[in-house]
Symmetry: C2
Subunit: 328 residues, 2 copies
């Protein structure tokens, strides 16, 4: 039997796996995709294409193992991609944990993009790795929710440094950050209960309700009673968080919104009582309350379309009230 050189094996591996590897990373949200591709050496910080530095050692072992088991190397491409994505996840987190500044002769992802974004890119890659091997719809639902969760948190971080956050993007962010996992909870529960295609209505129910939950959470972060919430009064405003009522106020084109923007732009401490009043005068509170009501109603419509008379549906109504009518 002829022995193939290592460089031939590795170049064949890259030929067979590169497209699928790229496709998996392309499925991440733009910011996390950019970080994952930077980490893989596909482009530099600005997105200018570069020569990949990774050797794809682990994928080569996966493909060779498939051949050793008597099959074509192609059969193991998903396994190879899953392992390489897991390796990338691990290195991204490792560099944060060890505080390493360079990897493969370039700045580590956390030094280039910040700790939060690098961690989230790793998390999203792990979810993507698992999804390569998933042959159950349930695993796919969960990994997609994790992907959305990471995308939402990544956008949340990016918004803190951005001057032009519009309310539509902010709602998308909140839906991903808070709605995706509640949507998965409901959809997975319904699937386990045999809902089949109707399980998508439970997903919508959970996502819409999750967004309502976030709106309530944001209102409590500004106007909640510290004795009940356990957080200092106005802590979100003190931290200049761009929560939903704040973004509604900032984009309201009202004098109060403009004044709030000036307070948020300053370096000095914020008078949280005054800032809360500005959000209210700019209509941020009324909008958030109305939007929470709309989203809750939309959630209920989705649910009632598929299971109006089941005992669990009444429980879901009760739980929905619990989280949208809470004061802490």
């Amino acid at each position: 039997m002829m022995t193939r050189t290592a460089s031939l094996i590795l170049s064949e591996t890259r030929e067979l796996t590169t497209a699928a590897h790229r496709a998996a990373v392309d499925a991440l949200c733009p910011e996390l995709r950019h970080i994952a591709g930077y980490h893989a050496g596909w482009w530099d910080v600005d997105g200018v294409p570069a020569s990949p530095a990774g050797k794809a050692i682990r994928p080569a072992f996966a493909l060779a193992s498939a051949r050793a088991a008597g099959a074509d190397a192609r059969s193991a491409v998903p396994a190879a991609i899953a392992v390489e994505l897991t390796h990338d996840f691990s290195l991204l987190h490792d560099d944060v944990i060890d505080g390493d500044l360079t990897r493969r002769h370039q700045a580590t992802a956390w030094t280039a993009f910040g700790t939060g974004q690098a961690l989230l890119a790793g998390d999203a890659l792990l979810a993507m790795a698992v999804s390569q091997l998933a042959d159950s719809e349930q695993v796919r639902v969960l990994t997609e929710a994790v992907n959305d969760l990471c995308a939402g948190q990544s956008a949340d971080i990016a918004f803190e440094d951005s001057d032009d956050v519009d309310i539509a993007r902010c709602l998308t962010m909140a839906e991903e950050k808070t709605g995706a996992l509640l949507g998965a909870a409901c959809q997975l529960g319904a699937m386990a209960g045999g809902a089949g295609a109707a399980s998508n209505a439970y997903r919508v129910f959970g996502r819409e309700l999750g967004l309502a939950f976030q709106l309530v959470d944001d209102m409590l972060g500004i106007w909640g009673d510290p004795a009940v919430t356990g957080k200092p009064v106005g802590s979100d405003l003190a931290a200049r968080k761009k929560s939903l009522p704040v973004v509604a106020a900032l984009t309201s084109r009202t004098p109060a919104g403009a004044e709030l923007a000036r307070h948020y732009a300053r370096d000095s401490g914020i008078d949280v009582g005054h800032a809360a009043e500005l959000v209210e005068r700019a209509g941020g509170r009324a909008w958030a309350r109305a939007e929470a009501t709309r989203r809750t109603a939309s959630a209920m419509r989705a649910l009632d379309a598929v299971s109006p008379a089941m005992p669990g549906a009444a429980d879901l109504h009760t739980l929905a009230s619990l989280i949208t009518e809470r004061n802490s």
Copy 2:
């Protein structure tokens, strides 16, 4: 239809899910299990049992959704656990990203156990979450590898602060940290190639080889040529890393090992040239070289037992030589 109160729904949820939730967390390595249980409010920093603070809202939605779909709540317990573990993963990482100091009225996990350990606990919980829903052997192989990977990295961090690291524990750590993923690469490739029960031999092959790889890596970290490795000479020693040759030297009961221990215990800078000589005189280098050879041989035996004459087996031999005979 009688409406059940939220508190009844939530307490029923806890009754149905607590045992399975605990069992999932119990499957983590001891250090990460401790952090996950602390985060869930099951015990305090010292492991003294506490009253859980979490409301299990998401699991309640999952169970209620199963009932709304017409099934028994019990059918959705794995879905409920998967979602709760995902939520815990996300909060553990969130607290690191946001730098939050308290959660549910106690110190956040990263402030109590360090950033690295808290991140790894989150990673391990995400893998465990997915494994609740996995009905494919492949997903299970990958999530177990991730669990091992996190356990190994957690042990690695713990070792840095520990005075009594023995070589057996250090080898286990390295097998988990480096061997687990290479083992999964080979096993998953073989499974994709139709290996069936024989795929376990590929797992052993990859794990043993991964350990050999780590031993070579550790030797290069001490005696590698900076021009080839791209790392400063003796960087592992300068950072007082307890790599495998170092631990072999420290536990050698030789005068050179004792002197090395004194250098590692001091706060002042280490003369890396002298330290490398001490590791060598204490037998650390010879041991590492011999152990790498033993592990490589063990890997080859496992492989040759199942596929001696397949073309891919020759590739695996070539790849094995590539990573155990490298100089960078």
